[in-house]
Symmetry: C2
Amino acid sequence: MGLLPTPVERLAEALARFPGIGSKTAQRLAFHAVRMPAAQGLELSQAVAAVAQEVGPCPRCFFLSLRDQLCAICRQPGREQGVICVVEDPGDVLAIERSGEYRGLYHVLGGALSPLEGVGPAEIHAEELRRRVGEEEVGEVILATDSDLEGEATAGYLHQLLQGTGVRVTRLAHGLPVGGELSYADERTVARAFSGRQQL
Amino acid sequence: MGLLPTPVERLAEALARFPGIGSKTAQRLAFHAVRMPAAQGLELSQAVAAVAQEVGPCPRCFFLSLRDQLCAICRQPGREQGVICVVEDPGDVLAIERSGEYRGLYHVLGGALSPLEGVGPAEIHAEELRRRVGEEEVGEVILATDSDLEGEATAGYLHQLLQGTGVRVTRLAHGLPVGGELSYADERTVARAFSGRQQL
């Protein structure tokens, strides 16, 4: 309706393109940007520009990195070079690193197979994974995709793709969350906890 | 932990300062920014900079405006000049304009009184409202602050502040939402609908 100044309209439209941000939220954020001190606004503007210009996927594992450089994990000395953990998103890498349980390398798919959304093997860097297994001395590939429909299908696809390479392919364990109450777990989690039960 | 490229960390921190955006969401948005086409990233960066540099409050009513200019509503020909509707946020102006029911001017407080959060009369442009009532030929001030605790307190304060100016002070009607079902209304709304009932 043209009541808002053009820069505010434009910012709200740009923000509404982010996943999970509706037009109402985008507008609220744009209003907040108006009330930020000018220095803070410029800082945010420069941060966005820096990300757009300087950051890209790691050429080896597709985690976030400064453009054309290996990422912080690939460059970290002392990482186990013979294990690759395959995840969907960069956020999964951070979650695994927080657990402190893993010291190997990663392969970040950038999503999961989803024929309906046009995400095929080429979009999830599947071929690059197979090439890594052939070229690097990889002993184990841990599939850590989500346990939803797409994540399971992706794990199944990658498992097949890697057959014949001789690499050991494993999948993260599923079951009851540690510290959670059984009565609050959903039925599929309980079912997985039963089918994957282990002898003590 | 330094696993993410610095520009991504910095963007996530800047986004986490927005109200209603937690650190997880901020990180997710920053990851998305990495995957945006470069042109779209620069567009967003420029939109943020333009808002920070070019947009400010309307010098008369504090709605959003290009810096030091009267806002689109104050400049609109044919608006009733003798009525001021007092709202908390710019979003309230848009909601009222969408209703098509109002043709007067606005006064945007930018919040509501909240002693606990350090928001006093000076922060909500209360004095500027009284000055407008004195200087412009205002016949009616409609208090349209929210009907929560802070909004009601703000309406009460402004009502007192305007006593003696001779202006007619009104408050938006509260009651059942149009098209809503009685059984779904909360008890305070039902109570207000009773106490404000009108003869047919």
